[in-house]
């Protein structure tokens, strides 16, 4: 399963945009969008590979794409966009402690610039969409992918 996190607000749309493009290009893959990380806990049953895309702060210049394999410790240094809920790291940690975390969890982050309410996406983050998309498609081409 692949999940894009985000919201309507400026660069925080990145996860949704990547997920929507992925769903369009790979219709056989289970792809979802979410705004609250805790929601993923409802979707993990029977999933062995879990791919995530979200915006973050602190990983470099706007538009910087980084890939993480859970449980990468260094992931915890970043600030995640979004409020009113647990962050992705806390949610994955909770899934781990509750015994429902998939065998493999991969996370792509994109450094955001703008997060103003209902604002437009920055050019740098927009340019990262095909980069993340290509990387996720390459991973999903692996024969162990969930269908």
């Amino acid at each position: 399963m692949a999940v894009g996190f985000g919201s309507h607000h400026a660069d925080d749309q990145i996860g949704w945009r990547v997920a929507q493009e992925l769903a369009r290009r790979m219709p056989d893959i289970a792809v979802r969008v979410a705004s609250k990380p805790l929601d993923i806990l409802h979707w993990l049953s029977g999933i062995s590979r879990f791919l995530i895309c979200d915006g973050c702060r602190g990983s470099g210049l706007p538009g910087t794409v980084r890939r993480w394999t859970w449980p990468a410790i260094s992931i915890r240094q970043f600030t995640w966009n979004g409020t009113h809920d647990w962050g992705i790291v806390e949610t994955l940690s909770l899934a781990d402690r509750l015994g429902c975390l998939p065998r493999e969890v991969l996370l792509w982050t994109v450094e955001t610039r703008y997060v103003s309410p209902s604002g437009p996406m920055s050019q740098e983050v927009e340019a990262a969409i095909p980069v993340v998309l290509g990387a996720m498609k390459a991973e999903l081409a692996n024969p162990t992918v969930d269908r």
């Binding site: 409020t83 009113h84 997060v115």
Partner: protein, 444 residues
């Protein structure tokens, strides 16, 4: 005492003043900043800052078609989009003279049940319960209370599913419209949730009994509670804005009864009762204190059983109030699901005309007030949104003044943590992080 406070007396060289300044915790949408001013080892004053996202949207809405208002306001809050949609459509319908059908009315209450379940359960078990059990976070709590959290997540999922079925999608409801809904689900689309909600009702009762057994600190807020009150039902979308001192106002009279004052130390405005100049308290505890006899039967019996001590003025027991409301939401949802009939038509017709209207509905965190003016083209010319967290800010600050004085110690980190725990009683829209409140002690 609310309102502008006098400047601290000049240092005469004999007393020692310490001013604790808090740098804002820089999260994208939520900031909590607290300043504790100490003089001769005692708390002299407390200043709390909470970031207010709705202010952006009041300006953003001007010039937009009124049909876009529910969708735009839903983006203000990721955890309670339905509340913003409900207040907006009711305000616009009041302006345009629209009366929705009983079926639409019930479907809107069902949607609100879903949001109350999701929001309350998230806060109760993942954010607030850890404070009572001595854990630093819900993550720590998962070690020994994994079954409780799994059950809570299952309850939360029911709220999600209801929002997805009625709202059109889980991440952002798009089905709410001025006049009703764009589409009403078929009976089979919605009634398959009944077994889950039957399980959930029993589970919610057990979970509420569990939190009611926590040890609660003593604190008597002596509040003036404010919530909607409706003669026939537990309030969600309709009713008079009522105070525990016995006053009642329509939404049109909101500005006559309540005012927002600028305070020197914050960009956020403080909501106060005009009559007294004092703060007031909205939220589940206020609703229950003013409407307990209109709960559904199981929730009402539970509220009697738990020996909370009604009327309850201890904010620590807000977690129990949320639990009782989750039980009510499950009961009412089951009633609506069981007897569900799709509304026909799903939306009531209307025409654009220059008009102005206001409404208040009960968001999970309390009374949410909206007011709009529209022109003859159906464009918004004025918008005012007063969320519950803003309305509670003055009260939270007043309470913190007393609480900080009672828990102050040389261990500043511990004092800060106890202040964070206290603020979490109100479930403000910044309490999602374990350490959302940046408390700085400035000891001069």
């Amino acid at each position: 005492m609310a309102g502008p406070r006098p400047d601290p007396p000049p240092d005469d060289g004999h007393s020692q003043q310490r001013v604790i300044r808090v740098g804002a915790l820089a999260r994208v949408e939520g900031e909590g900043a607290l300043t504790i001013r100490l003089r001769d080892g005692a708390v002299e004053d407390v200043e709390l800052r909470i970031f207010e996202a709705p202010r952006y949207f009041e300006a953003f809405l001007r010039g937009r078609p009124l049909e876009e208002v529910p969708d735009i306001t839903a983006r203000i809050c990721g955890i309670c989009p339905v509340a913003y949609q409900m207040s907006s459509v009711h305000a616009l319908e009041r302006a345009l003279g629209i009366t929705v059908s009983p079926e639409i009315r019930r479907l809107r209450r069902l949607l609100y049940c879903g949001e109350w379940i999701e929001s309350h359960v998230l806060h109760m078990f993942l954010l607030h319960a850890p404070d009572f059990l001595g854990y630093d976070s819900g993550l720590e709590m998962a070690e020994k209370h994994g079954d409780v959290l799994k059950q809570a997540l299952r309850l939360k999922k029911h709220g999600n599913e209801l929002l997805e079925v009625l709202g059109g999608r889980a991440i952002h409801p798009i089905n709410v419209a001025v006049g009703g809904f764009y589409r009403c689900p078929r009976r089979e689309e919605i009634q398959h949730l009944i077994p889950d909600f039957q399980w959930g009702l029993a589970a919610a009762v057990a979970a509420t009994r569990w939190v009611a057994a926590f040890e609660f600190s003593e604190f008597d807020g002596g509040y003036e509670f404010v919530s909607l009150v409706h003669p026939d039902e537990y309030p969600m979308n309709e009713g008079m804005i009522t105070t525990s001192s016995g006053d009642a106002f329509s939404a049109d009279q909101y500005a006559d009864a309540f005012e927002e004052r600028q305070v020197p130390h914050s960009t956020a405005l403080h909501s106060l009762r005009k009559a007294t100049g004092q703060p007031y308290f909205v939220g589940p505890l206020a609703r229950l204190n003013l409407n307990r006899d209109r709960l559904f039967p199981t929730a009402r019996r539970l509220s009697d059983e738990l020996n909370v001590g009604w009327p309850c003025t201890n904010p620590f027991k807000s977690i129990v109030a949320r639990g009782i409301e989750v039980v009510h939401a499950y009961e009412e949802a089951l009633d609506i699901l069981t007897n569900y009939r799709p509304a026909e038509p799903p939306r009531m017709p209307y025409e654009h005309r220059p008009a102005e209207g206001a409404a208040a509905t009960e968001a999970p965190r309390g009374t949410l007030y909206h007011r709009y003016a529209v022109d003859d083209q159906g464009k918004v010319t004025y918008a005012r949104i007063v969320p519950p967290t803003s309305q509670n800010q003055a009260q939270i600050e007043d309470d913190l003044r007393r609480w900080a004085a009672s828990v102050l110690s040389d261990d500043e980190a511990h004092t800060a943590r106890l202040c964070e725990n206290f603020v979490r009683n109100y479930d403000p829209c910044i309490s999602c992080a374990t350490h959302f409140l940046n408390v700085q002690f400035d000891r001069v």
